[in-house]
Amino acid sequence: MTNEELFDTLPKDNPFTTPEGYFDNLTDRVMSRIGKEEKPVVHMNRYFRYIAAASCIIFVVSAGIWFTNQRENTPVISASDENAACWAYNLDKTALMAAVLEMEIPETGMEISYTDEQKREIISFLEKQDIPIESIMHNMNEE
């Protein structure tokens, strides 16, 4: 018997079966399984994404500046730029002077007096820092 003759006598029917109704709910089962695997995805509007990204950048930059200022402002007198100087003598002149003289910062409301030598040290320091001396001197002479 040739191969062709043999296979002509053999059935081509599918001898396997499935449980009744197996295919009826198969799609639902597959989709249910896929749904469980999937994590919810939040879709953002394109403009909202830009705003969110810009907000993140602004936050990071602001935080960086804030931390830098915190470090630069401690001690107060080490700041050399004009803004820091203004901040120092307008808001906390006592602390400024104490730091220049390496003194302990007096408690709020306590009076502090300077000798001529101390005043020269302060002036010398402020000159090095490009801080307007006339204004400082005016404030000190008022005490």
Binding site: M1, N3, L6, F7, L10, P11, K12, D13, N14, P15, F16, T17, T18, P19, Y22, F23, L26, T27, R29, V30, M31, R33, I34, G35, E37, H43
Partner: protein
Amino acid sequence: MSEHSDEHLLEMFRDENRKYKGFSAIVEQYKVRLYWHIRKIVVVHEDADDVLQNTFEKAWKGLSGFRQESALSTWLYRIATNEAVSFLNQKRQKGFAHLDNPDSVLLATLQDDAYFSGDQIQLQLQKAILNLPDKQRIVFNMKYFDEMKYEEMSAILNTSVGALKASYHHAVSRIKIYLESVSI
């Protein structure tokens, strides 16, 4: 139910609002033929069900990257075939088969299978098929039962048409020898 074109199914899937619906339509369209393709490889219904679910899960994860270099059906058949063969290899490695006859479990399952309704001749034919190496078995099933063209098989199995014809020829010869030995 009428069949959707690959283009239509993929268009639905790629639309975020219709992604689930699109994939559901793909499952609906291909579930039966993929099931039978897998079932003929792994034999047992419960195993075929597991492998089919894994196949669709892989398809779901990979479909976004599908570049349509082949037909959708070819791509799905390829996943199904790989999954089924991997499943069988794992089953063999776990020791579910005897060393002298790797598919003895499959053969035994066939005889006791509640979901096998073939007569004696069909049982012997299936036993003969199960005695073939995996590749020959897959090629024989696709050609003999599914009447698939060699070109399509070549795309699915990533094998040349010439090699597939040779595999089919060897399979036929071995089945004939087996059937003659059991006096069919």
